[in-house]
């Protein structure tokens, strides 16, 4: 079935899920990260901004949260509040996990 060998191809890449942690200050600036530098930093910045907003809005609703665990089907985001900023862990899930 040599014909089928050409079904495999090299070329465009699929973006992998981010894995690792990042620390952000209260303004949303990333001050430390263990996530691969090939992952788009703009996406990480957007995620950080959303996490900080969630902590901030929770305070406005009298919730004062210290940690958040957001479970998506393929990824878990864990965030701990850190003096207005946050440390955020991004952990991809696999079928087995």
């Amino acid at each position: 079935m040599g014909l089928l060998n050409f079904l495999s191809k090299a070329g465009a890449e699929v973006l992998r899920l981010p894995s690792g942690s990042l620390t952000v200050d209260r303004q949303g600036n990333i001050i430390a990260s263990t996530i691969s530098s090939s992952y788009p930093s703009a996406v990480l910045k957007d995620v950080s901004a959303d996490v900080l907003k969630l902590f901030r809005e929770a305070r406005a609703a009298q919730l004062s949260l210290t940690e958040l665990h957001i479970h998506f089907a393929s990824l878990q985001i864990t965030a701990r509040e850190l003096r207005g900023g946050a440390i955020i862990f991004l952990t991809p899930k696999t079928v087995a996990s």
């Binding site: 089928l4 070329g11 899920l17 957001i70 089907a73 696999t94």
Partner: protein, 352 residues
């Protein structure tokens, strides 16, 4: 005459598309095969006409397969989707299944593998897409139990509705026992029959199961149907029904040990039980929904399962739903896994 199903194949390699097109056109159901070399073109075709099945490559320039699938999942939930890829990677498999694909297949490298792949596609094209109790569409649970008994089956039916699980033991066409929500026997059977949707599976029979139900299944079904009619009849007074619902919800909340519950529909104000801050909490739930939606889209992380949070004095669990989302507060000493399980249970029974 039955119309032919339409299949759309998306791959950036035109030669491969031709090959697939030829192979799929020879399937026994003779589907009408269309092709696209870019995600944007595929989405335009899906918008323009109804398709039954989408075959999608993962590695493509501009818009990759996972991006296409995440859009397809939202815009065309009824469409069957298959990923066919040369990328042998557990992460991509997991993400594809998280996006609800029906099949993830590595590009076939042997004739036998190709045959199996085509058989799977044929099965997917033939599968009925209607809703209802899984496996027996448009049938109520009463119908399914009656069918099992009439056919003199011996089986254990496991019925699931969200976090609720019930079991019915049927031996030689007779219902001998039932178990659900901590109840057993006739009471459990009545509770299970009140569930209006869910899934069921048949497990091997357990002939040694102790018999707790001695009435005939038809008598029990009749009694349950009458009881359900009476309840729905008394719902004619909306004020009375609403009052009973509130009392029931507060007692469920207390029984499970939750501090408060806030529910939020797609529109309208939040409703709260056990809290006076439903409005503020509802606003935070909206912020949470929007933030999670944005993050899921940006990272391609798949649909949101749940959010858990902790503060200085309580633990929170948020469960999203297309109709109504719930935020439940638990004492801080409740462990995370148990808070999630109890929230699922509470949510499953909330609108009963």
């Amino acid at each position: 005459m039955q119309s032919r199903h339409k299949v759309l194949i998306l791959d950036d390699n035109p030669e491969l598309l031709e090959l697939y097109k030829e192979m799929l056109s020879q399937l026994p159901s003779r589907p009408e095969v269309h092709t696209a070399t870019a995600g944007s073109r595929a989405l335009a075709l899906l918008d323009a006409q109804p398709f039954r099945l989408l075959l999608c490559d993962l590695k493509m320039p501009k818009m990759d397969g996972l991006q296409v699938l995440s859009i397809v999942r939202r815009r065309f939930p009824e469409l069957r989707t298959v990923v066919i890829t040369a990328v042998e990677d557990e992460e991509f498999r997991s993400r594809a299944y998280a996006l609800g694909v029906d099949l993830f297949w590595l590009k076939p490298d042997t004739h036998k593998n190709m045959q199996m792949f085509l058989e799977c596609l044929e099965a997917l094209l033939g599968r009925d897409s209607e809703g209802g109790f899984r496996g027996v569409q448009s049938k109520s649970l009463m119908d399914i139990v009656q069918m099992e008994c009439l056919s003199q089956s011996s089986t254990v039916m496991r019925i699931t509705r969200g976090a609720l699980v019930g079991k019915l033991w049927i031996q030689n066409g007779e219902l001998i026992d039932a178990e659900a929500e901590g109840a057993r026997g006739e009471a459990a059977f009545r509770r299970i029959l009140e569930w209006k949707s869910g899934t069921f599976e048949n497990l091997p029979a357990e002939p040694d199961r102790e018999r707790t139900i001695h009435k005939s299944v038809n008598a029990l079904l009749l009694e349950t149907a009458q009881a359900m009619d009476e309840v729905s009849g008394s719902d004619n007074d909306p004020e009375d029904a609403e009052h009973r619902k509130t009392v029931w919800r507060l007692s469920a909340l207390t029984r499970e040990g939750a501090e408060w519950v806030v529910s939020l529909g797609e529109s309208g104000p939040a409703e709260g039980w056990g809290t006076h801050s439903a409005e503020e909490l509802g606003k935070w739930m909206r912020v949470l929904e929007e933030a999670c939606h944005r993050m899921s889209d940006r990272i391609e992380a798949g649909p949101l399962s749940n959010v858990q949070a902790a503060g200085l004095d309580r633990r929170l669990v948020y469960l999203p739903s297309s109709g109504k989302s719930m935020l439940v507060a638990w004492p801080l000493d409740t462990d995370r896994a148990s808070a999630l399980e109890k929230t699922k249970k509470l949510t499953a029974t909330w609108d009963s």
